[in-house]
């Protein structure tokens, strides 16, 4: 499908965003300058767990150094959930009484330059009484060396249980396999770190905050709660944002500090996170531990899964996603795309003296998929089957769609087995099996890997309301205006930071209104200019914001037709929108969108008296008919050569078969898939945020923390 104009839904249109990005003309927080702006540097904890006995400001700099005592009117960040038994944590923007992870901010220092602010920070003296650090997530809950939040009595944010009775299964299952699987703690490492610039606008009585953020409206709500300002007194602008992946879906301590400082000092203040802060001080992700048992029939059909899963949630519950999201996801998505009769999952969201975690691209999915697919391979070995055969024996079939799985996930559509068959064919499994048998001349061993998953996007109210975190998504709005010159302006509350929404939503508008994508301007990421939104996360924007854009475009189309119908004296039903024009079907009578808009705004005398005064501007909302989310699915197949002498791995071939439904822009979708695959390669082979027994991070620069680079990724992947 390529739409009528070749520029609509289905066209691989080049990205509108690239014009500025390829020429270095984007504007990130680091590019913004304000007269009189101060730069901030944070004094951060060098230890993982300690009581603060005292903080001494350097002499002569008392008015440049601020601690939590100075911010006495500011409230702690509290991300609670409605789930029974959840223990909330108070995360003070600057440490109060205790530090709970290396890098936790203790004081903020301001100066004309960052270097000078760091000079001051180096002289701040903090007296610590060190406490034993809680480093290992399983030990944290079973034999804790100390308590991260003493008032809790243990180190568990939340324990959940999806129960089932396995007594009979245990007795009869011919295949029973138990494994212990761990995934590494990672750091999402977007190209641009975080950055915040705050300025108090005295004319508007409003805080203006630029932040490299994924969900500016949520940041505004959170700031309002912590600072005691009404939401109208805060404007959050997320300018160009250099990658998010979940890392920027958070209300930051630094945002609160800078907001407070800019008002107190009457000057703009900026903080730019550097790579060291990004790696050691901020947030990590994805550290899971699975004690998992799988039961299957001799022919590879699954009977059930029984799993104890622990998630290392770090020291605090972050706003808005909270410390329970990852663990809750594990319990609800562990069964993957497979059918089974029994499922039991006990989860613990453990609290440790490590930075808190955020949901990284594919919230919990990566760890869950890894654990489950390893088990599927184990079943295949035990049953003497090809790994793909075991998958085919268990995947939900197209004839069973839509399908409610064992955890009540509603799989909407798809042909999961076909994805596997295509991937196996494309990678040419027989060829590699033969080569494996023959052996390699250089002594390397060939391995073929297979992984299948389905992935929920656009989670709606019913999915999130049960968790009751500070942000429950529901609907999404779009403001649309056909300007007097025929340019369509769209405003959405989400933020586009690599998702290419400026291009893809222009294509959606083109599909409906016929307006050229070049004549569509998307405004996003600014709370003063856009409708409220929960922001960009959880694979939701194409569906939710895209749905809002489509609904708004339809509304504008109706209004254009009404006006044009009056002007051309024809019935609305006879009009079609095409190539930026309103055409009378079957005739050569037509008006451009610009002509219609011009009359509406600038020459209303040409309109009859009974014209609808609604005009060519509208804010409309979108809510999917079912809010259980979309389910896309994919099968990845890879061939690697492993050098047994040195453990080196080389990727020889990589195949991705993914069904993303209707693709708005296939090139953009491919880009998203390649990027995700590179991140997966990093997860599997390179990235690890390690801590020593004292809770000290062992990777504090990109010399130690290794995201995969260009030479480590396959040159081409075949994507279908």
């Amino acid at each position: 499908m390529e739409g009528k104009s070749g520029k609509g839904v289905g066209a691989s249109l080049l990205r509108k965003e690239d014009e500025r990005h390829l020429r270095g003309r984007g504007e990130f927080v680091g590019d913004i300058q304000r007269p009189g702006m101060l730069e901030a540097a944070f004094v951060r904890s060098p230890v993982a767990h300690a009581r603060i006995k005292g903080i001494e400001k350097p002499a002569g700099f008392e008015d440049r150094v601020f601690t939590m005592d100075d911010l006495a009117d500011v409230k702690a960040i509290r991300a609670v959930t409605a789930i029974k038994g959840f223990k909330p944590s108070d995360m003070w923007p600057l440490a109060r009484g205790k530090v709970r992870h290396v890098g936790e901010p203790i004081a903020v220092c301001v100066a004309a330059t960052r270097a000078e602010a760091e000079d001051i920070a180096a002289q701040v003296y903090v007296d610590f009484e060190e406490l034993p650090a809680v480093v290992d997530m399983v030990e944290a809950r079973t034999s804790p060396p100390s308590l991260v939040h003493e008032e809790w009595g243990d180190n568990v944010f939340l324990e959940t249980l999806v129960d089932d009775d396995f007594t009979a299964v245990r007795a009869r299952a011919p295949i029973k396999l138990r494994r212990h699987v761990r995934t590494a703690r990672q750091s999402m490492a977007p190209m641009e770190g975080r950055g915040v610039l705050c300025e108090w606008n005295t004319r508007l009585g409003q805080l203006e905050m630029y932040s490299s953020a994924q969900m500016p409206h949520i940041n505004r709500s959170g700031l309002s709660e912590c600072l005691g300002l009404d939401q109208g007194a805060i404007r959050v602008i997320a300018p160009d944002v250099g990658g998010g992946f979940g890392y920027k879906g958070i209300l930051l301590s630094e945002e609160i500090c800078l907001a407070w400082l800019s008002r107190r000092l009457g000057r703009p203040v900026r903080w730019l996170e550097d790579r060291r802060e990004q790696l050691v001080a901020s947030t990590n992700c994805r550290e899971h531990d699975y004690d998992i048992t799988i039961y299957a029939e001799r022919d590879g059909r699954l009977i059930g899964i029984d799993c104890d899963a622990t998630v290392d949630s770090g020291a605090y519950s972050l706003y808005p996603f909270s410390a329970c999201l990852e663990g809750a996801q594990v319990a609800s998505i562990l069964p993957g795309p497979y059918k089974m009769e029994h499922f039991r999952c006990h989860t613990w969201s453990a609290c440790t003296n490590k930075p808190p975690i955020l949901p990284y691209r594919g919230v919990a999915r990566t760890g869950v998929c890894f654990a489950l697919e390893l088990m599927m391979d184990a079943v295949a070995r035990e049953a003497g089957m090809e790994p793909y055969e075991v998958r085919l024996a268990n995947l939900v079939l197209p004839s069973e769609m839509p399908y409610d799985n064992i955890t009540k996930k509603h799989f909407d559509s798809g042909d999961y087995p076909e994805a596997v068959r295509k991937a196996v064919a494309a990678i040419d499994l027989p060829k590699w099996r033969a080569r494996q048998k023959a052996g390699e001349a250089d002594g390397r061993r060939i391995g073929v890997g297979l992984s299948v998953y389905c992935e929920q996007g656009a989670h709606g109210t019913s999915v999130y309301s049960g968790w009751g975190i500070p942000m429950v998504p529901g609907h999404e709005q779009c403001f649309a205006r056909l300007s007097p010159d025929g340019v369509l302006e769209l405003r959405i509350g989400a933020q586009s930071h690599g998702q290419s929404m400026e291009t893809t939503f222009a294509q959606v508008a083109n599909e409906i209104l016929g307006v050229d994508p070049d004549k569509v301007r998307l405004i996003h990421g600014d709370t003063a200019l856009t409708p409220y939104s929960t922001g960009t996360w959880g694979s939701r924007c194409a569906v939710m914001s895209g749905g809002a854009v489509a609904t708004a475009a339809r509304e504008i189309a109706q209004r254009v037709k009404k006006i044009a119908g009056k002007l051309m004296e024809v019935a609305v039903e006879d009009l079609v929108l095409e190539d930026g024009k309103v055409k009378v079907a079957g005739t050569d009578k037509q008006m451009t969108l610009a002509e219609v808009a011009h009359v509406w705004y600038r020459a209303p005398q040409r309109l009859p008296a009974d014209v609808d005064p609604g005009g060519l501007e509208a804010t409309v909302g979108y809510k999917p008919q079912r809010d259980t989310g979309t389910f896309s699915y994919a099968c990845h197949a890879v061939v690697v050569a492993v050098d047994p002498e040195i453990g080196h791995t080389e990727i020889l071939d990589y195949v991705i078969v993914e069904d993303g439904g209707t693709l708005i822009n296939p090139m953009v979708v491919d880009g998203q898939i390649y990027g995700g695959t590179a991140q997966g390669i990093g997860t599997a082979l390179y990235e690890e945020m390690n801590y020593d027994g004292e809770g000290q991070p062992l990777a504090s620069t990109l010399a130690d923390y290794m995201p995969p680079d260009r030479p480590k990724c396959p040159n081409r992947a075949s994507s279908t």
């Binding site: 330059t113 960052r114 270097a115 760091e118 000079d119 180096a122 550097d274 060291r276 002498e645 040195i646 080196h648 082979l685 390179y686 620069t701 010399a703 290794m706 995969p708 680079d709 030479p711 480590k712």
Partner: protein, 273 residues
């Protein structure tokens, strides 16, 4: 993080640079390509009061040649070596090693002398120059002195350089036509420092047969008579060298360095690639 404040000078000759360093009384630091020092300044691991930029010193950028040897100025960049801009006195060894250091952006700035003076045990030149038994030429207030690079490096990030001394150049004996070499380094990712290096050189005309166990926890371990590893690869002898390099206890280190030697030998016999 940003560097602490420092002064900056760019002298035109070696004597002036030495004088500046002497005047700084231990608070001065030489900067060449800045590829190692830059991050250390930014992380505030180094906080010198004065930076003496030596890249404007013609002698330190020069390359001179005699029938016996090649003398390479300390400020010659990895990129110049990679691009074959120097006379080939090592039968292709230097350009091959240079091409595999980090990324081109780092090679454009990073220098041979900077790498040697930085004395990271995992650095390529540290190990290659030890293999070649090269000579370091130093100059301080008391004048010039020469040291074998194996004596120049004292330990990890520690050298014979006095606070007011410069590494001016490195002299390498010319290899004969019959010389062959093998070099193997293992790192998981481009630009990552090596986890293990194995290097070998056989030059029968000059009666040289050396091997290096590189990327150790300290100085490169040189096997001066490496016939049992280089001419014919004997696993037991290779393991002995790894143990002598202090890498015998950790099974991973032991295996990686053993494999690096084995592969360096294989490369050498495969035609010196």
């Amino acid at each position: 993080m940003k560097a602490a404040a420092f002064d900056y000078e760019k002298p035109a000759d070696v004597a002036a640079a030495v004088k500046l360093l002497s005047g700084a009384q231990g608070m001065g630091k030489v900067i060449a390509g800045g590829q190692s020092l830059g991050p250390m300044l930014n992380l505030r691991l180094a906080q010198p009061q004065l930076l003496v930029d030596v890249r404007g010193i013609a002698e330190m950028c020069a390359v001179t040649e005699t029938p016996e040897a090649l003398t390479i100025g300390a400020c010659v960049t990895h990129a110049r070596i990679e691009d074959g801009k120097l006379p080939d006195a090592t039968r292709g060894l230097l350009p091959a090693v240079a091409a595999d250091i980090a990324y081109r952006a780092v090679r454009n700035r990073g220098t041979l002398g900077g790498s040697l003076a930085h004395a990271d045990p995992a650095a390529d030149w540290v190990n290659t120059l030890a293999l070649l038994d090269a000579v370091a030429i130093l100059q301080g207030p008391a004048g010039r002195r020469e040291l074998k690079v194996t004596e120049f490096m004292h330990g990890p990030f520690a050298t014979a350089l006095a606070e007011d001394e410069l590494l001016v150049a490195v002299r390498i004996a010319r290899l004969s036509k019959a010389a062959r070499w093998g070099y193997y380094k293992f790192c998981r990712k481009t630009g990552e420092f090596a986890e293990a290096i194995g290097a070998m050189l056989v030059d029968p005309e000059r009666k040289v047969c050396r091997a290096v166990v590189g990327a150790t926890t300290s100085v490169p371990h040189v096997v001066a008579d490496a016939r049992a590893i280089a001419e014919r690869f004997m696993p037991d002898e290779a393991l002995k060298a790894v143990e002598a390099a202090g890498l015998g206890d950790d099974p991973y280190e032991r295996q990686m360095h053993f494999a690096a030697l084995k592969r360096a030998a294989a490369r050498m016999h495969g035609g010196g690639s």
